[in-house]
Each structure stands twice: as structure tokens, then as C-alpha cells.
Subunit: 340 residues, 2 copies
Amino acid sequence: MRATLADVAARAGVSLATASRVINKSSHNVTPELKKRVLDAVRELNYVPNAHAQALVKKQTTTVGVIVHDISDPYFAQIARGIQKVASEAERLLIICNSYRNPDRELAYIDLLRSQRVDAIILAGSGLNNLDFNHSVSKQIEGFISSGGKVAFIGRHYTPGNAVLPDNVGGALLMGRFLVEQGHQHIGVITGPATLTTTDDRLKGFHIALEEAGLQLPESYIIEGDFSRDGGTLAMQELLARDLPLSAVFALNDPMAIGAMSVLRANRIHVPQDISVAGFDDIPMAEDINPALTTIHIPLIELGRKAMEMVLSENESSQFEIRHVPSKLVIRESVVEFGR
Amino acid sequence: MRATLADVAARAGVSLATASRVINKSSHNVTPELKKRVLDAVRELNYVPNAHAQALVKKQTTTVGVIVHDISDPYFAQIARGIQKVASEAERLLIICNSYRNPDRELAYIDLLRSQRVDAIILAGSGLNNLDFNHSVSKQIEGFISSGGKVAFIGRHYTPGNAVLPDNVGGALLMGRFLVEQGHQHIGVITGPATLTTTDDRLKGFHIALEEAGLQLPESYIIEGDFSRDGGTLAMQELLARDLPLSAVFALNDPMAIGAMSVLRANRIHVPQDISVAGFDDIPMAEDINPALTTIHIPLIELGRKAMEMVLSENESSQFEIRHVPSKLVIRESVVEFGR
DNA sequence: TTGAATATGGAAAACGTTTTCCAATCATTT
DNA sequence: AAATGATTGGAAAACGTTTTCCATATTCAA
């Protein structure tokens, strides 16, 4: 069947110990002659070490677990890309899990990753609220950390654990100010799920900008989306049905902005001439749609890179770090001055 | 440190054997009373079984390895989505690896997955040519299969192994005929990497359509891209520089079509009035760009689903199956009749 | 009360590797 | 020729689980 190290040793006519010395490049010297015989045997038998046996004895795995909402969502795809980059430089293997923001699934995946004895867990786009977290997850995470595991959260901070956080409040503030500057006073807002802190923070930043300008944001101008493109279309349809004097729409992420634009287009409402549309995140396709999307740039790849770096660092696993990354306004074509 | 099954048994005041019986729901009966004690101990100690120890003794892992070109490329993201769907229904864990079409990395990943003793490997978007494959990979794959592993390829078929294949020739034929019907005679083609059979097949289908119509496709109208958005922009720039009387451009996948459109837009060439643009694959964003992309629909999620199903089936792992999935033409806005 | 059936415990092998310890062999130097 | 050092082998423990076998204890029915 499958070749074991013992098979390799037998084939090479050496002892198990010697074969292991060759393969693990141990400090012990091995004659070039024997070395060659072992390596030949490895090739001939097509031997690959059993990672499970190794994990068992070495008590580490060089694998890292990543839990995201949905890997095919461009936001998470970009983050995963950053993670991957660092991971492959450091020769770590990634186990990627889609939670679809389902708390139960998220919990199940954490257990699964623990049972895989991953060296670290990166959690991005969690659907857990603080209650969930304190109730059950924190205990799991604590156990994981106390047994030497590393944890990093992206986009949200729980204790214990490292975190890398985009500046959601600041970004929304920037966009709010920009829209106001452009003369918009009646701005519809399509939010994310109300349970997510990302939604709260972005909404908060936007509120501050309006307050600064002495403007109101009536309840009827706000509608809850789900951060998906189709959620954006639904929300936009509902917003149109409310028949408000909108001059701009601020979607709290890009896919929803794109969904909203498609609804506007279907209704022969021109963007940006009739209504301006703004997004958030700056996913790659933001510059490819027409009109190109004015949005807030979040360095998604950077987010992933940083998280992976944290988790790879040699710090005491009980020493936590929180890193913030700035956002910035990217002005493209989908927002214009009111009345032009 | 970390709780073991022995710890659980001790805490519950039962034998190791009994604890194992409870946890593995073995056919042996255990008194409700003891069962409860064991389950309580599991909870109190926050016990999760060591998957590596299990893998070692059970000789299977319930994990499946997936190698793709790049998970953040929408083509592969959609395929991965299909795979994930079936995988999570079947309670399989996925290890996703990005090869970036680098043959060496691809080989390294296959070895890595073998060392992880995954139950199956799905390979999508391989950068290996037949030579590579026959030279080194086939041996690895054969070894994997002969030790009970399952293999499925997506988009390309190697022996041995299952495969699920989109109809690239047929799809390109459809698009070719459509463009011709619309009166286009001077059509630029942006291909994928010349090493990929996908490129060959799509080009072949297009050639057939032109031949049917008695049209030529001069070399100068063909330019090689790399299936990426930015590759599409480069190719389009080069194509424009050649100063041909183009009335349409056929990009052999959607991201390149989108890149091409952005170049045309930058050059104030209107799509589709001045030049029609066609894509291939029908990734989700194809309908969100403006003008919406006319393209060939490949059921990407289905591709992933089928591959996973094959790999999960109880067939003899040496019995191979090849499944074809049809493509279809999706007419949107980016292609119009010549001269209109 | 005996017998049978059921529940539990104890002990051990097996999975494939790494690591350690000591002994044995060999070549090289003094 | 003896001493030194390097190389190799042999054997065993350890990692945490599953599974098997047998022994013991308990329960229930006849």
C-alpha cells in the first residue's frame, strides 16, 4: 500500500534511525553514499511522510485555520489572498472554512479546527454577537490559546485574541463629509446586518458627518441590507418604493452599491446624473463597473497579511495586539455634485 | 494542557473503553447515567478529539484537498463555492491551495495533500501541460489512487482520474456564430495562456464558426492574454496599437473582457456602439458592468458540485468517469449588430 | 438459584513518526 | 597499536486514538 519510513529504510538498506536523519536533515551527519540511497528510495517508493503521525509526536502542524463568511465574496477573497501570501511564504497550510455568518456553523468550525490541532485560527467576518461569544466561544478560544494556539480576528475585536481592524468609523465619516460637500442632503443609506459591529461603526461615522453639517438622517432613509449584491437590489427597490427625494445613496459596502446601481439602471434612473451612489471597501470590481464606483478604500489584502503575520509572530500567545489600518476616500464617477 | 480521552474517562470515573464507546456511539450500549457523566466531562474539559490520532488509526480523514489557480479569481471562487456546498453537506473539510498555475507549486501541493492523507483531491485550473503531467504528476496521482484516494479534474482531463468538463469548443462556436450573425467580420480575439487546453478549445470553436461563414482569422487579430483582468487591458492596448478595423473583440474569459472594456472606455471608444465586446464564463459580475457583458455561460457552481460528488461517490476509486456540462449563450448588452 | 444476557473495565495492539540512548563499527590520527 | 571521533544501528518510548479480547460485575428472567 502506502510506503512508510520503515519501507524506505528497508529499501535503502539502512536503519530507521538513519532514514529519519536524512529526511529530517538532523544535525547528525550521514555519509553522502547512504544519503543518496535513502533519497533514491524515497523517490522510488513515492514516499511522503504522514503528516498526522508527525503532528502527533511534534505537537504542531504548520497549518492555520481561517474562518470567513464566504470565500467567494470579493471582500473575503481579497483578505484570504493576503493571508495566503504570507502563509505560503512561511510554508503554512491553510484550512479555509465558510461560516456564512451562521453562529452554529462558526462554533462547529472552531471545534473542527481545534481537533485538527491547527497552530492558529484567523476569524474574519464573524456572525457572532458578543453574547454568543461570551457564552460559548470565548471558552473555546481561551482553551485554544492556553494550549499554545494563536488567534487573530479581522474586522472585529473580541477578548482574548489579536485583532486587525479597518477604520470603519473614519471611512464612513470621510464619505459622509464628501457627500455633504457635494451638496447632497437627502441621502439613502443601505446598511449591513444590524447584528454586525461593522454596520454600527460605518453608520456611526456617517451620522457624525451629517451632524457636523447640521443635517438629519430620518429613519425612513435607512434600510437594512445584508452586505450581498442581491441584498443591495432588494434594499434599493424598497428605498425607491418609499418615494423619497433622494439625491444620493450610500451603500455600506460595494456589492450592495452595485446591486443598487443595477436596480436604478433598470428603473431608468441614471447614475450619477439622477442619483449618486457611493460604496465602501473598494473591492477590485469597483473600478470596472460603469460609472466607476466612488467608495472607501480598505486595504483588504493588507488586512489579511497583518492578521497572518500576527499569528506567525513569536510573541507569547497570551500577549495580544490590536492593529488599526486606515481607510481612504476613492473618488471615481458614481458620485457627482448635487444639481449638476 | 489539552484534555485527552483518558482525561475525560478519569473525570467521568469510567474506563477509557467506556468513554470511547460513548463518544463514538458504538453499537455497545452504555447506561444513560454513565453516558451523561462522560458527556459532562467532555464539556467541562472542553475536550475535542485529536483528528491526527484518529486519522492515524482510522486511515481516513474526511478531508478533501482542492487545488485551484487562485481562489480570489471569480471563476475559481464560484467553482469552490460548488465544492464547498457539497462538502459541507457531506461533512467534509476542505483544504484549499492556490497554485497560481505554477507547476512546481502544484506538485508541491499535491505532495502536501498526500502527506495530509486527504481522502480526495480536486484539481481545477491546472497549469500543468501533458508533459509535466506524464513526467511527474501521473506517478503521484497513480500512487494516491492506488492507496484508495479519489481524484477529480475540472476543466481538463488527465488519466488517471475523474473529470468534469465544460463545453469550451461548443461555447466558443456559439459565440462565434452569434458574432458573425450580428454582421461582425473583423473580430479581435484575446486568448488565454497558450499552454492551456482551455485556450485551445475556445479558439478552436471560434475558428469553426468563422470557417462556417467563410471568414478568415488573420494572426494579427489574435493576441495572447493570461485570463486575468489586467492581462485583458494589456492585450487590448496592444490590439488597438495594431490599428485594425475591428468591429468586435472576443475575450476568451470575462475578466479579460472587462479589462478590455476599461481600455476602450479610457480611449473614448464606446462599447458596444463603436466596438462590441464578448466574454466567456459568465462570472457574477458580468451582469453588473455597464454595458452588461454578452458572454457564454458556464455553470461554474455546477462544475464544482459535480466534481465533489464524483469524489464522494462509492465507486471503485479506479473506475473513472468523465462528465460534460453544456454551455450556453447569454445575450446582454455589450454586443450589437455591426453598423448600428 | 442457576443461567443467560448485558454492561463495564483492563489491557494491549496498532497507526507512522520523532527522538533519545547506547552500542557497535569504522576510519583517522598520534 | 592505541586512542579518538564520526557514523550507523537497534531498541524503545511517546503522541492520542480506535478496536479487540477477555474478564468481571450486574441485572433479569426462568
